[in-house]
């Protein structure tokens, strides 16, 4: 009970500090406007005015140029491929006043001109990002001018541009170092992710749009999510029928793939590091070799090796174990699904065990030897020492890796895609017997052009991995006590 109370209190405390902070921010705005020099006051309307007032010309002009550029985009709405940025992009986000293109181009299967709804959404978000940047720079420019005010007040000279640049290599070094990543990641990772999340709430689906003969799509609220229960929409039946089986298999796969590779790797590492064993280096090299070969090569090799006409089937037939080639990997619809599932887990061991072996080798060598000495004195057997000393020690250290590899396996695209391609297929459905959520997402989005359904699957995948991470990772010591080892 007390722990719960403490937690609540903690949360309450956080809340007040949050409101305090917001309140403080507002009072600071007011203070800066009232207290500031005429330059600072002007800065609230014209970026850089305060800096120019304090003769920080270069900085002032830079601020002003940013304001001018953003306002230019907002007001004059330059367009790319006929889709505008600026305030028009914000209006376009409603996807209301859209019009069809005139001519149908049979070669591409699309209309030649007209509204491009996906660009409208994309540019709408870019414009929102611009507005956020506008206000961030607005705040920066006022703060910069106000700081110069304060410097003047205490008799210091306002910093020169050269001093500001120097500060970027020292006190504000993190700004210099993080800006490239912030810009690049916003454009190429965060924006696309938000865009795809938005598509989950639209009717953007090539098949539907072709059926209706339209090049436009609209917002449709939660309908794509409801399709899991209702089965409505062009891929609705697929989602309804296949969602739960695929989800279940994704979990089974992730659990088995993680545990087999983890314990297999530990055992392999123990074998290789056995006292008195010669040629440790050679054995290690053999297994590292398989990590070094690109997966699309090694996995496609296995796929063909185990294939219908491949040497493995021939060997089994020659040995008289089977009469006809067996479809181990579910490449045909008639192949056994269970066999394919077992095979991908087995082949995945082939892929994954060397990784764990590599990682745990170092850890095993670092186990304090006095632990084993003590065990030996107490007369413990080797097996007992493995379960009582080695395993707990390794598991304790590698818990973050275990969680990471579980999440990695949920998103493990290559193994499934290259080995079985998701097969054996179900007639009429995209998702086959061994398809994971990610490979299904790929098929639905890239092969089918059902961007909205793909986005729904992606969001569900995110929810699963996010839940696991939140529950385990945030409680782990690596996260909460990250400064302990420094």
């Amino acid at each position: 009970m007390s722990a719960v109370n403490k937690k609540r209190q903690g949360r309450g405390a956080n809340k007040t500090t949050f409101f305090d902070r917001v309140g403080k921010a507002f009072s600071e705005f007011g203070k800066r406007f009232v207290d500031g020099s005429i330059g600072t006051k002007l800065s609230h309307f014209i970026f850089g005015a305060g800096n120019i007032y304090h003769r920080q010309y270069i900085k002032g002009i830079l601020f002003f140029l940013i304001q001018a550029a953003i306002l230019f985009v907002m007001i004059f709405c330059p367009s790319i491929n006929g889709t505008p940025y600026g305030y028009k992009a914000l209006l376009n986000l409603s996807l209301k006043n859209v019009y069809e293109g005139g001519e149908f181009d049979p070669e591409t299967g699309h209309f030649m001109t007209g509204s491009d709804c996906k660009l409208m959404i994309l540019f709408g978000f870019v414009t929102i990002a611009l507005i956020i940047i506008y206000f961030l720079v607005w705040n920066m420019n006022i703060a910069s001018s106000y700081k110069a005010d304060m410097d003047r007040k205490v008799g210091k000279k306002p910093t020169t541009f050269k001093e500001d640049l120097k500060e970027l290599l020292d006190g504000k070094f993190h700004v210099t170092m993080l800006t490239p990543t912030c810009i690049a990641a916003t454009v190429f990772t965060i924006l696309p992710t938000i865009f795809m999340i938005a598509l989950a709430f639209t009717t953007y689906n090539d098949q539907d749009m072709n059926d209706l003969g339209t090049n436009l799509f609209h917002w449709n609220g939660l309908q794509n999510f409801q399709a899991v229960f209702t089965g409505e929409g062009s891929l609705g039946m697929e989602i309804k029928a296949r969602f739960l089986p695929v989800l279940g298999w994704t979990f089974i796969w992730a659990i088995f793939a993680t545990l087999t590779c983890y314990f297999g790797g530990i055992i392999l590492a123990l074998l290789i590091n056995k006292q008195g064993l010669k040629g440790k280096k050679i054995f290690r090299t053999v297994f590292i070799f398989t990590i070094a070969v690109p997966q699309f090569i090694s996995l496609l090799a296995v796929r063909n090796l185990l294939g219908e006409y491949g040497p493995f089937n021939a060997l089994l037939m020659k040995a008289g174990i089977i009469d006809a080639p067996v479809g181990f990997l579910g490449l045909k619809a008639s192949d056994s699904e269970l066999l394919a599932k077992i095979m991908v887990i087995l082949v995945n061991m082939w892929v994954g065990i060397p990784y764990t072996m590599l990682m745990t080798s170092g850890i095993l060598m670092n186990i304090p030897t006095d632990l084993y000495e003590a065990g030996r004195v107490d007369g413990a057997s080797t097996v007992k020492m493995f379960f009582k000393i080695t395993l707990p020690y390794v598991i304790f250290i590698t818990t973050p890796y275990l969680i990471g590899s579980f999440i990695g396996n949920i998103n493990s695209f290559n193994t499934i895609f290259l080995l079985t391609g998701g097969g054996p297929t179900y007639t009429g459905y995209q998702a086959g017997g061994t398809d994971l959520l990610v490979t299904w997402l790929y098929k639905v989005t890239i092969d089918q052009g059902s961007y909205n359904t793909g986005a729904v699957i992606g969001i569900f995948t995110f929810l699963i991995t996010a839940t696991i991470t939140l529950v385990t990772y945030r409680r782990s010591r690596a996260y909460n006590e990250e400064d302990t080892f420094q």
């Binding site: 290599l169 993190h174 990641a185 590292i288 070969v293 090694s298 496609l300 990471g404 991995t465 690596a478």
Partner: protein, 311 residues
Amino acid sequence: MSTNPNVKKYRSQSRTRRVSLSVTYTILIVLGVIWLIPLVWIVLSAFRCEYQDDGTFIGRVTSNFFPKAFGLKNFTDLFTATYYGIPGAFPRWMLNTLIIAVIDCIISTFLVLSVAYCMSKLRFKLRKTFMNISMIIGLFPGFMSMIAIYFLLKSVGLTGNPSHPEYSVIGLILAYSAGAGLGFQVAKGFFDVIPNALVESAKLDGCTSFKIFRQIILPLAKPIIIYQALMSFTGPWMDFIFAKVIIGADNAKYWTVSVGLYSMLFGTHPDTNLFTQFAAGCVIVAIPIVTLFMFLQRYYVEGVTAGAVKG
């Protein structure tokens, strides 16, 4: 090893040890063979040079593990053949991949190191926020945003540009390297181990943060720099999905080598008789990558371990 006064017991111990050692050898040798079989088979297939009775070349998967005849035909064919209407496609793909890999390697390594250093050794407002956002973004499946990146690049003409198909290469480099900074966790784990006292004493001596980074941290960070460079350099050689979507299925001249090889077996015109040529291509791609890996093995192990133990 502890010496044991009881000789009889010692003898029996050494016998059980010998037995258990030979069992270990056997298991390891069997496992090693299992692990190598598929790779050996691909190499054997690459050098296979079998003909049917009517003189046609057998390029498909056959049931015999060991080829009946060896030759270099697959390699010479691979380098001279026209794939997807592109003469000399394979050398072209190799060149594309090399260019992409080198530039991606430089940009990604730089971004990762700078972010990791900030997160590990500098304290500033929004630091935790940045870490949380990068973690949340990392939880979305990468394939989800792939198509959005394609739309984005297309809208600025960096892919699917009919008058400049070569711009797709720039688009792919951007797609590979732009988000790299968010994968800073491994390098951060490495930097975390460098004592803070080192940084603080340098600061007391009047070093700027930049100087500390360049003169103290970077020389110490050699293993992690090599690890990151290795990872980002080998990435483009291994990826066959992202490259295909971004560069475009119909832009064969600017494909990377893995897209090209994958398309031989599973493209719009798959040809099962190209398997041995595919194998030859795999050998050509694998040789430099595997060599790099083997030479830099130590750094790879160090990087993997640093990332795993700290999370």
